[in-house]
Each structure stands twice: as structure tokens, then as C-alpha cells.
């Protein structure tokens, strides 16, 4: 038996994992790794464009993982939305691993955006797009169940893609007994492997929002995040649309439903919202006063 060097071991591991697709797709690199598999970058020779190919890491003899990957592809195919990555193709490799082909998303993960210096207004704009995509999925009966910054991609032109729908719940009947999701982003009912609904995603989005806020957020924005993350599903926003509406109100400097402001806070908010007209009005009044005193006009 011949000695195999560390380098040869690494090479064999990669060689054994490298997917053998048909002539249409030529794998050119690795985009990333997930819980179920690896996402490769490939060139679609027919349409002459780059695509992403998600491949299971293991040949799935029992079929549960392959079924999950296929179901993810079906969900993506059904959710035709600018914020949800479109799927182009799906199948099984000669070695038995399931795969699907999707749009190659170029950009940064939201957690990388958080590390960068993007202002809160930009981050909230991205968040609003995420809410739009998730709300669309909910309208089609799909609950993501694993929303977190790592699963959201932000493109160079402000576009966002909600990724990794591998543990999504597709319809009420599709309830897995096992706990799925990421600790810290799961509401209590999901962590307890109980049945979840769209409010589980509202909870996760609340956690994401809290991470997107400035270090010293305004009380109104903090209240929105807190309401979304309430342990009791009944006390949360009942839909993503409700959460989105409150976030939109905050961005427009309107009163939000999650926070009752004081008279002073309301005055300040109104001042900030109408700062220019107010300043012009004050300048006009001062000018009139000066003219009245000095010239008697």
C-alpha cells in the first residue's frame, strides 16, 4: 500500500467531491458551502452564462436529503420574485448526488454588509427588500425557517436575494418533527420543534433588524425589532406585511405602531421630518418681525 501525502489527500477529497455534470455545465469553482451541500460556480455552455450549482455532499441512500434539495428547487421554481434566486435546472449526478442549477448571485452576504460601514438608512433599505421577498413567500404558503444575515445576499445595485430555502416549510402539512433553523434566530415555538407559521420568520427578521440597527438606535426602531422578536407569537407582528409597514413608517418618520412616543419625541420627529419647511417658516417669521420693528412695515 503506497503512502499518500497530505497534498494528495486534499486533492483526492476535492476530486471525489467534484460533480460530474453533463456537457452543458462546466464547473469552474466553488462559491460556498452549506449545511447540506456545496455550491459550485459553473458555465452554462448553451446559454453562455455563469450559473450556480448546488450539489449534495453525500449520495443520499435514504432519500431524505435528496428530497429536501429537490423540494428546495421546487420552492424556488414556484417563488418567482426579484428577491428570491431563480432556479434553472435540477437532477441527479451519475454518482447519485442530487443537484440543482440556479442564478449565480454576485454580491456580499448581509453579515458582511453589517461589518462594513453602510449607513443605517442603506441597511434598512436592504431590509425592506428582504421583507418584500419573505412576504411574497408567505403569500405562497412558504415559511423560510432559517432567516439570518448569512442567508441574505446583497448585490452591488442594492438588490437582495433571500437564499437557502433548504429547511423551508411548504404549506401547513409540511411540518418536520426535528428542530430546524439556527439558534439565536429561532422563536421558542420553532426551537421546541412545534408547528410554526409565518410569525416564526417575523421573529427571525426581528433579530436581523436588531443587528442592522445603529449601536444606539432610536426607541421607535428598537421597539419594532423588540415586537418582532416577542417570545409570544400572538404579541408579534402577525404578518411580515405588518412589520414592513412599521419599518416603512419609521423610515418616513411617521409614528410606528410598536412605540408610543412622548410629546417631546413627537415634536422632535415632526421637526426632523419637516425640518426645511419649518426653518423656512421660522426665517420668514423672524424676517417679518425684524422688518416690523426696524422699518415698521
Amino acid at each position: 500500500m503506497n503512502w499518500i501525502s497530505d497534498r494528495a489527500i486534499d486533492r483526492l477529497r476535492d476530486a471525489a467531491a467534484w460533480p460530474e455534470l453533463d456537457d452543458r455545465y462546466t464547473i469552474t469553482g466553488v462559491a460556498g458551502h452549506g449545511g447540506m451541500g456545496t455550491v459550485y460556480v459553473a458555465r452554462d455552455q448553451v446559454l453562455d452564462r455563469e450559473v450556480a450549482v448546488k450539489v449534495l455532499d453525500v449520495t443520499d441512500h435514504q432519500g431524505s436529503r435528496a428530497a429536501r434539495l429537490t423540494r428546495e428547487a421546487h420552492i424556488l421554481a414556484r417563488l418567482d420574485h426579484p428577491g428570491i434566486v431563480p432556479v434553472h435546472d435540477a437532477g441527479v449526478l451519475p454518482d447519485g448526488r442530487a443537484f440543482y442549477v440556479m442564478k449565480l448571485v454576485r454580491g456580499r452576504r448581509l453579515d458582511d454588509v453589517l461589518v462594513g460601514a453602510a449607513p443605517q438608512a442603506v441597511r434598512l433599505d436592504l431590509f425592506a427588500r428582504v421583507l418584500d421577498a419573505v412576504g411574497f413567500a408567505h403569500a405562497h404558503g412558504v415559511v423560510h425557517r432559517d432567516l439570518k444575515p448569512e442567508n441574505i445576499m446583497a448585490g452591488a445595485f442594492g438588490e437582495v436575494f433571500v437564499m437557502d430555502w433548504g429547511v423551508a416549510q411548504d404549506g401547513a402539512a409540511d411540518v418536520e418533527p426535528a428542530v430546524v433553523g439556527t439558534p439565536g434566530f429561532m422563536p421558542p415555538e420553532q426551537a421546541g420543534a412545534r408547528e410554526v407559521d409565518a410569525r416564526a420568520d417575523v421573529f427571525a427578521l426581528g433579530v436581523v433588524l436588531a443587528q442592522l440597527m445603529d449601536n444606539e438606535p432610536s426607541p421607535a426602531l428598537a421597539a419594532i425589532a423588540a415586537k418582532a422578536q416577542h417570545a409570544d407569537p400572538a404579541a408579534r407582528y402577525q404578518t411580515v406585511e405588518q412589520l414592513a409597514a412599521d419599518v416603512a413608517r419609521f423610515r418616513n418618520q411617521d409614528p410606528v405602531s410598536a412605540y408610543r412616543e412622548s410629546v417631546l419625541e413627537r415634536s422632535l420627529r415632526i421637526y426632523r421630518r419637516y425640518e426645511l419647511p419649518i426653518l423656512l417658516l421660522v426665517a420668514y417669521v423672524v424676517m417679518r418681525f425684524v422688518l416690523l420693528v426696524a422699518v415698521g412695515v
Binding site: 503506497n2 494528495a8 471525489a16 467531491a17 449520495t59 454518482d95
Partner: protein
């Protein structure tokens, strides 16, 4: 394509009522683990070649059967991790007792080629990993791959496809410091077309992958453990390594 999911793991087969089944299962475990155990004792415990060889023999002849496999609970840990922890305890006790067996003493369960293993020690690249589990894992993977490559070679020879294995060995098994040819160079070297080289490599890699997975399934004690091990072993790990592949 592979063993059925209901196939018993070697650990389960060591508990069989059939003596031959038990014997084969023990031989499989020893074959898979003796080199990692020996090298681990040499590197982690800084034992001399003789001490490591003696303790490896003792570990497999007495301790493993009576104290390790009997108490193994698949629900609590992977077998490899569990075995490594037991080995640490065993080595610590041996050191405490300053227990040393003379080479050739006591029982030898299977002839283990310590001379070859010792020769390989000199070829280990880089420093010893600080993570002891990683050290044991690396040697376990090496042993698994060595046996799997040997299987691929045997199958190729039996099928009269020696040239396919030669292409695979030249390209994927190129040693440290050995220049790796391009597909075109390899094709010229072997008097083949580049497309044939591509096809040969694909066929050999597919067979290698299947053999590794079959062996892995045999060495793991549950479907979950198998999937986790397979994902760790064969899931692509680095963008650079993958780019370097073609």
C-alpha cells in the same frame, strides 16, 4: 451502487454470535485504525517506535475488545472520536504505570507492519496539528484513502484497465514536490487524447468516491454518522483547492 442502509456496521458485527463475522469485523476495525493509533501514539504521546508499537498491539489485543467496543454507545459519540478518547486514557494509564511490553511479547492479533508505518513518519509534512482530534482524523483519512486507492488499483487491474489507474495515480496521487502534469501533458505522456484522460480520471474518481463511501458506511454506526462523516470527508473544503483541480 453501495451497501444497503440496513447493513450492519463493523462495530455492530463485533457483537455478532457468529465467530467468523466477529473475526472479520475485528480485522476491519484493526485495518482501519492501527496506523492512526500507532502514529497518534508516536506524535501526540511522543512514544518511541518500540513503545508505540507495543502499546498499539496491546490496545488492539486486549483493551479494545474488552473496554472500548463493549461500552461504545453510538448515540453519544462517533466511533472514531470515542476510540481516540479511549486511546488517550489507555496511553495515560500506561505512562502512569510505566508499563512497557517487550516487542514480540504477548499476543499479536494481526501482523502489523510497524516498520512501514515508522518509515511513513519521516514523510509527514509540516508540524503536528495542535488539535489532537484533527491529528487522529488526518491519519484515519490517510489510512482510509490508502486502502481505497489500493482497491481502485486492484479493480482496474482485474478489469484490464491499468492505464486508467496510471492516469489517476499520475494526476491525483502526485506526491509532494512532484510536478503535476496538465491534461495535455498527461495525454502526450501516455499516448492518449486529452478527452480520454478526462474520461479516465472521471471514471477512476467516481470509483474511488464509491469505494470510500462504502468503506465509510461500514465504519460508521448510523446513517447520521455516515452522512456527517461523508460530508466532512468529501464536501469540498476550499475554493483554492477546487480551483487548482483542473
Amino acid at each position: 451502487m453501495s451497501f444497503p442502509a440496513t447493513r450492519l456496521s463493523v462495530v455492530e458485527r463485533t457483537r455478532s454470535h457468529d465467530e467468523e463475522t466477529r473475526r472479520v469485523a475485528w480485522a476491519t476495525i484493526i485495518e482501519a485504525y492501527w496506523k492512526p493509533v500507532y502514529k497518534y501514539l508516536r506524535m501526540k504521546w511522543s512514544l518511541s517506535p518500540d513503545e508505540a508499537a507495543d502499546l498499539t498491539q496491546e490496545f488492539f489485543t486486549t483493551t479494545l475488545e474488552k473496554e472500548v467496543v463493549e461500552r461504545y454507545d453510538p448515540a453519544r459519540a462517533r466511533f472514531r472520536t470515542y476510540l481516540r478518547l479511549c486511546l488517550d486514557g489507555f496511553a495515560a494509564n500506561a505512562r502512569k504505570a510505566e508499563r512497557r511490553l517487550k516487542r514480540g511479547g504477548d499476543v499479536t492479533v494481526v501482523p502489523l507492519d510497524f516498520q512501514t508505518a515508522e518509515g511513513e513518519m519521516a514523510r509527514h509534512e509540516g508540524s503536528v496539528p495542535a488539535d489532537v482530534d484533527e491529528l487522529f482524523y488526518r491519519e484515519w483519512v490517510r489510512a482510509l484513502f490508502e486502502r481505497s486507492v489500493a482497491d481502485v488499483k486492484r479493480h482496474a487491474e482485474q478489469a484490464g484497465r491499468q492505464v486508467m489507474f496510471d492516469v489517476f495515480a499520475r494526476y491525483d496521487l502526485a506526491d509532494e514536490g512532484e510536478a503535476r502534469p496538465t491534461y495535455a501533458e498527461l495525454a502526450r505522456e501516455r499516448g492518449l487524447t486529452a478527452a480520454t484522460v478526462t474520461n479516465h480520471l472521471a471514471a477512476m474518481r467516481r470509483q474511488f468516491r464509491q469505494i470510500v463511501l462504502d468503506r465509510l458506511r461500514e465504519l460508521t454506526s448510523s446513517e447520521d454518522e455516515f452522512e456527517a462523516e461523508a460530508a466532512r470527508l468529501l464536501g469540498s473544503r476550499s475554493l483554492d483547492a477546487a480551483r487548482d483541480k483542473r
